[in-house]
Every structure is written in structure tokens, then in C-alpha cells.
Amino acid sequence: SQELEQSPQSLIVQEGKNLTINCTSSKTLYGLYWYKQKYGEGLIFLMMLQKGGEEKSHEKITAKLDEKKQQSSLHITASQPSHAGIYLCGAYLAGGTSYGKLTFGQGTILTVHP
């Protein structure tokens, strides 16, 4: 099974709707990243969370880290077609053998219909 599980795997919403993507780890987290990827392209950094309870926002995107639950959520308010893409969570996990090694979830494909 994946060390980082994202849910849902895909999401289709109507423009203007709110949505949440979750990322759950099977191991202790030491830092969690959220990235956005357009198909076939590189990763766009959204935000990094390091401390339990930490919450960050960028424009209409908010991410929270629940360290005890080993979980992070990404919330988009009033979604727009420009939000469409693949959202990936990546994390430094306990027991990692390499400094800087990020373990990634499988991604959530977001489609926003106008």
C-alpha cells in the first residue's frame, strides 16, 4: 500500500464550488508539501507545512496539517477552471533513508466545469 494516500483519486466539480483533497500518511510526517501539476509538465509549488496545526493560504487555496492524524487537507474555495490539474502531496516521512527524499501520494485529478 502507499505510504501517502490521497483521496479522492479524481474529482469533478462545477465552477464556484468548494472542494477538499486529503493526504494521509502511514508514518510520522516531518514536513508536507502540496504541488499542482498540469498534465505532462513540472510541479508548481503551492505550499509547505511543517508544524502540527499549521495552516497556510494562497489566494483561494488553504492547506492544513494535522500532525496527530498524520494528515493534511487542501481546500479550494469557489473553484475556477484555472484550478484544474493534478494535485500532489509530498512529505518527509519517518524512517526515510535519504535527506531531502520526498515521498509522494498518487495524485488527485481535479476537473472544474465552467
Binding site: G31, S98, G100, K101
Partner: protein, 116 residues
């Protein structure tokens, strides 16, 4: 954040040949990494590119197949050798240790490789 460029952005190669991918950062960074993203999959770390010494490879990746260079703090190359169709992937470099954003890891635009 750092501006990261990769060359080429995409390539189509024949089986048995090699492809060298370049990663250039606009500022000095502490760490540089190479990831692979196979079709429909998430990212997997190939290796950490160490400046002035041999790269550190993850389990399942070896130097003969993925030789890496990092001659300075802003540049690295990844070569994918003896290509087979299974090597068709997006290859991404990432960096960490950007001034004022030390703990954050940023990714380049990726190189899409197709092996025929």
C-alpha cells in the same frame, strides 16, 4: 523561489541510445535531486546529486543506468543510458536550500522522454 530550467523539455529516442538531461538553477542551492514520473504514476526519487562527488542513489537505481553529474551549485545532469521503452517517463529535477526558502523543495518543468 528559484527559477529552474531543464533541457530538453521533451525528446523521442531510439532503444539502446542514451539521453542526457540538463538542470540549471538561477541561484546556488544546497541540494539537487532527480525524480522520475512514469506514465500515470507518482514521482519516485532516483538520486541526490552531490556537488563534487558521486550521486547518492535510491534503491532500484544504479549509476551505470543513471549517471549523474553536479559540477557546481547551480547545475546538474542526468543521463539515462541504454534506453528501453520502460524508461519512457517524465524526469524532473528539484532543488532545496534556496536562499530565504531553505526548507522548501522546488521542481523544474520536467523532461518528457519517449523511447521507441
Amino acid at each position: 523561489s528559484a527559477v529552474i530550467s531543464q533541457k530538453p523539455s521533451r525528446d523521442i529516442c531510439q532503444r539502446g541510445t542514451s539521453l542526457t538531461i540538463q538542470c540549471q538553477v538561477d541561484s546556488q542551492v544546497t541540494m539537487m535531486f532527480w525524480y522520475r514520473q512514469q506514465p500515470g504514476q507518482s514521482l519516485t526519487l532516483i538520486a541526490t546529486a552531490n556537488q563534487g562527488s558521486e550521486a547518492t542513489y535510491e534503491s532500484g537505481f544504479v549509476i551505470d543506468k543513471f549517471p549523474i553529474s553536479r559540477p557546481n551549485l547551480t547545475f546538474s545532469t542526468l543521463t539515462v543510458s541504454n534506453l528501453s521503452p520502460e524508461d519512457s517517463s517524465i524526469y524532473l529535477c528539484s532543488v532545496e536550500g534556496v536562499k530565504e526558502r531553505l526548507n522548501e523543495q522546488f521542481f523544474g518543468p520536467g523532461t518528457r522522454l519517449t523511447v521507441l
